[in-house]
């Protein structure tokens, strides 16, 4: 029984080490231009954060536009209020799209972002 427990414990330890160390084993270390690559990857990460931020903001804005339309159709907003709110929201949505396009241009990954599929509820 002790042998079985020792084997199981050993297997468990091996699995733990394998799981935890996988990213460390996969990471390639840059050679001569290490600093430059680190800066570039830092910039890329910053761009990634901003892109994710803008995508989340875009989804929210689309949802707000739909909510406003539903509020109009269910009688919670007058037409005047709806027009004012809707144009404001669409202007904000365009700003976000502009910033996304600028970011895509800067990161040079426009073809990938064209294929991006932001979530829209429903």
């Amino acid at each position: 029984m002790e042998i079985v427990i020792a084997l199981v414990a050993g297997l468990l330890l091996a699995v733990v080490v394998a799981v935890i160390s996988a990213p460390l084993r996969d990471a390639g270390r840059p050679m001569s231009d290490g600093e430059q690559t680190q800066e570039a990857s830092q910039q890329s990460r910053e761009d990634g954060y901003e892109h994710a931020e803008l995508e989340a903001a875009r989804e929210t804005k689309y949802r707000e536009i739909r909510d406003a339309e539903l509020d109009l159709r269910t009688g919670k907003l007058s037409h005047e209020d709806y027009e004012a709110i809707d144009s404001g929201l669409r202007g904000e949505a365009l700003e976000i799209l502009d910033r996304l396009e600028a970011l895509d241009g800067r990161s040079g990954a426009s073809s990938e972002h064209d294929k991006a599929k932001p979530e829209l509820e429903g």
Partner: protein, 720 residues
Amino acid sequence: MADLGRICLPLALLICVYGIGASIYGVRSGRIEFSDSGRRAVYALAIVLSVAFAVLEIAFLRNDFAFNTVADTSSRTTPTFYRAAAVWSSQEGSLLLWAWLLSLWSSLALFLVRRRMRDIAAYATAILLGFGAFFISLMIFYASPFSTTNPAPAEGVGLDPLLRFPTMMIHPPMLYSGYTLCTIPLAFGMGALLARRVDADWIKAIRRFAFAAWLFLGIGILLGARWSYAELGWGGYWGWDAVENASLMPWLTGTAFLHSLMIQEKRGMLKVWNVSLVLATGTLAIMGTFLVRSGILNSIHAFGGATLGVPFVALIGVLIAGSIYLVVLRREMLRSQHRLDSLLSREAIFLGNNIVLVALCFVIFWGTYFPLISEAFTGTEASVGPPWFDRYTVPLALLLVLLSGIGPVIAWRRATFANARRNFAAPLLSALVTLIVLLAAGVAHKTLAIAMFCCAAFVLGSIGQEFFRGTRARRAMAGEPLPLALVALVRRNRRRYGGYVVHLGIAVLFVGVAASSSFQHAVEQRLSVGSSTHVGKYTVRYVRPTATITPKNDAVHTGSTLNVGAVLDVSKGGRHVATLRPSEGFYDSGEPAQGTVGHLIGGQAVSHISMSAGVTRDVWTAIAPDISTPALQRIITIGNRTLPADQGVVALAVLAREYLKNPPAAQFHFIVSPLVMWIWIGGLIVLGGGLIAIWPTPSAVRRRVTMRSRARAAHGLARA
């Protein structure tokens, strides 16, 4: 086997320590591979704790009484289902369950955000592993689930009879899932503050986990209330017990957070408020866990043995101090981007709703913790009972229900008075009709109940109106038949309409609470066989006694040795309504000093209530039979004197026969409560609404929208 468990715990602690270090190093140095390794440490922790949990579970199922926790909470006569669930009935097992669930939910959360928010996720990983390290350390140094005794006892003590109820066994995993899920938004909240990113992406990531925590906590609370009502012998579902309150508080702040999160999402407002709420919810969840292990409670919820109050107080202190420090440090980036456009807006209503929820939480916090703290310092037992809680929570609950009906009919950003007048007409009419009907029914003296019914009618009116108008709008747009239009409407607006269903469920639940509290009839009476009593409009007659010795191989055997009860006939207006069979189970005390027969029934006596549940009312009853009569006691005394140790059950058979032949009068507790079932129905509606709101969008409806969306947005502007 215990050795394997004992190896798992320090290995798990090492994983936590490594993961914390790797995550922090990774995020500070920008070396993603270390952040990823830290995240994978959480997965590894889940694997190791799963093995540890499996070891303990197998020990329970195999009746391995060498494990102290198995010997203390299980026995060979405990049915398999209860044996499997007895794992978390002890301090040690429940700590393991907590840590295991934390590792599982953390793994899921971090897996889902593995490609996003790397800096926030890295800090969150470190914080979640910190919690893991805390609980694992408690197990290693204070309360190990794998401590053993050699030689192992031949038999265990058995599971507490009060816990031998199916709902009770599911209640802890649900509650602990809620508590552990509360730590995830807390960890991501702290991570967002540390990483200086408290914007849209963070909200999107934690919203689902905050919702899941809210759902699981709610289910756990409801299951606990159901257990209290259907199992304990007092006939109530909520007693403002300290532990009940401790689970309700994070649920209230979690509810507030889910609402105000929408405001931050749409308007960039309430950032300080939201971050504070999410930190408070996680801290309150830890405090709820602390309460049952602090040693300051004497309750069915409290774990005996080693008290863990000091380590928990230290952790709570660190959480509170750390939260305040972070919020103050980052106050500049938490400034609101906008202000409220109008007081007549959904944002304003949500803000009001938040204030009411936090006020409720504060009242309950004060009523729960102040007496405990006072008692801890002064040594004098202080108590704050249900009347105190009712005095302050009922008006706030009324306001909450009312606001939950107003919010849906008000637009975001601003609404006009003309629109508001039109939108409030149907809900107000609904409330007015309800008021008239109730006054006509002659219940004017029950003002609070009437107020709650009217508020609930208002909510039903406003929610019904929303569904009606939304479906009508959908049909006008898409030309779909009515059922399809309704489904499409909900499917395309899950958050909104799921939320409406939740509001509906809350209103229904409060109707049940108000009716059962205000219009209840309760009678306590001593009855002899053949006699009867009146409870409200019902007549209850004691038909005959029952007395059985429970066979040990009974599939649903709860461990009782003797069950004594009654058959009751319930009628109304001369018409038979129900037959009730309450009983009391007597359990083995395990104390040989009580005698061969005495110990068999000398343990805890547990009431098994009987109830006729219906849509309009429940008829509930409990019995306290009298087995202390001279005739019955003589049987026990003679049995103790004459019977060998393993023949005590013979005397119990004689006792049971004597009880049936000459039954003494028994004490009964009868309750007729209107509309109790609507509490559980309301809870199910809340659950359904929550699932609708949280359900992920099918990938089939995701569209390529970059250029098309720009065109739509621009088209809209041109049209304006």
